[in-house]
Symmetry: C2
Subunit: 192 residues, 2 copies
Amino acid sequence: MIRTNQDFIAYVERLKKGSSHEIDEHVFKPKTTILRQDKRYDSVYLIKKGIAKCYITDENGKEFIQEFLGEGMEFGELEIFSEKLTICSVTSVDELCVYSFSHKTYKALLADDPTFNHLVMKALADKIRYKAPRHSYQHSYPIEDNILRLQKLFPELTEILPKKDIANYIGVTTRSLNRALRELRAKQENLR
Amino acid sequence: MIRTNQDFIAYVERLKKGSSHEIDEHVFKPKTTILRQDKRYDSVYLIKKGIAKCYITDENGKEFIQEFLGEGMEFGELEIFSEKLTICSVTSVDELCVYSFSHKTYKALLADDPTFNHLVMKALADKIRYKAPRHSYQHSYPIEDNILRLQKLFPELTEILPKKDIANYIGVTTRSLNRALRELRAKQENLR
DNA sequence: AGAAAAAAAGGACATTTGTCCCAAGCACGA
DNA sequence: TCGTGCTTGGGACAAATGTCCTTTTTTTCT
C-alpha cells in the first residue's frame, strides 16, 4: 500500500553527488499540501524520506486516495508528458523530505541519461500495474476483506493514519469502516 | 471510454514504411483472446483498427474491465519494463488489426529512437491520468450517473457491446445495470 | 490550563446493490 | 430446422453501505 522504489532513489542520489544537474532538496512539515489538483506546477518531486498521500477530490468534496507514496516514489511527473493540469493533490502524511527537479532539468535527464529514462519508464509502468488489480479487488470484495488485506500488508499504517484516510483509501465512508472493524473485533472475540 | 492515440499510430506507420525495423501485422477475429492474464508473452501490440477490451478476472471469475482500447493504443508493453506476467487479459471486440513488435525490436526502438521513446512515455502517462479519475468517479456516483456519462461519451458503444461488458466496465452486476436503465426510462417517460 | 476543533464510535433508518431465480427472445451449429 | 445455449429483462428478498445525528475522546491552539 505504501509504495517505494529503492533503485530510483539510489540513482538520483548518485546523480546529485555528480552535481552536473540541479537537484534541490526540500523538507515539508506533516500535513502540508504540496500539489493541488487542477493547478499547474513546474517541478517534479522524488521522495527521499516520509510518506505522502496522493488523492482526488470530487465536486462534493469527497476524497479518493489513489496511493500512498514512500521512499523513491515520484509525483508531479505526469505533467511533463502532457502539458496539462495536475490530476491529484499530494499532501505529506508525516515529515517529508524530497528531491525536486525543475521541468527543464527533468526533461534534460530524460533525453540525455538512458538510465534515468529507463527508471522513469519503469516507474510509470509500475504505477499502472499497481492500480489495475487494486480497484478490481476493492470492487469485488466486502470491506472486511479489504481491511484484513491492508492490516496484513501494513500493520503499522493503521497507527499513523486517521480513520478517514483509511476509509477514503478503501473507498467507503468512515461509518462503514467502523462497522466493519467492529464486526471483525466481534469475530475475534468469538474465536477465544 | 474507447481510448485512442493518433500520434502513435501515425509514427509507427511511418516507421514501418522505413522498414529498418521488424514490425508485423496481424488480424484477429472478433472475440479472440490475445493476451491471457498471468501468462508470459514476447510481443507488444499496437492497435491499427478495431476495439479491444482489457480486463482482469478475479478468483471468483468476475471480470473487471480496465479500459477499451482503440486505434493507436498499445497493450503488452508493461511487461517490457518489469519482467513479470501480464496483469490483464485482452480480447478483441470486433475485428482487430494490430501491429506487433517483438520485445527485442521494441527495446531497440526505445533505446535508439527518441521520438518513439517519447511517444511510449506519454502513452504510459496518459494511461495513469485516465485511470485515476475514472475509479474515483465510479465510486462516488450512483450507477445511473455512470450510465448517463457513458451514453454521452459513446452513444454507439451501447450498441456494440453486450450488457455484461458495460456492467463490468462500470463495476456492477448486470441486474443492477438493468434496474438503473429501467429507472432512467421511467424518468424519461415522466418528462413527456 | 481551558476552550475549540477534530477524530472516533456507533444508533436508527433509508437506499443501493447483490443474489438467486425464472422466463422469453435470439443466434448459431449439427 | 430444431435444439442448446447465450443474452436480456425482471421479481423477490437479503445484505451491504450510506446518511444523518449524537456522544465521547483526543488533539490542538492560545
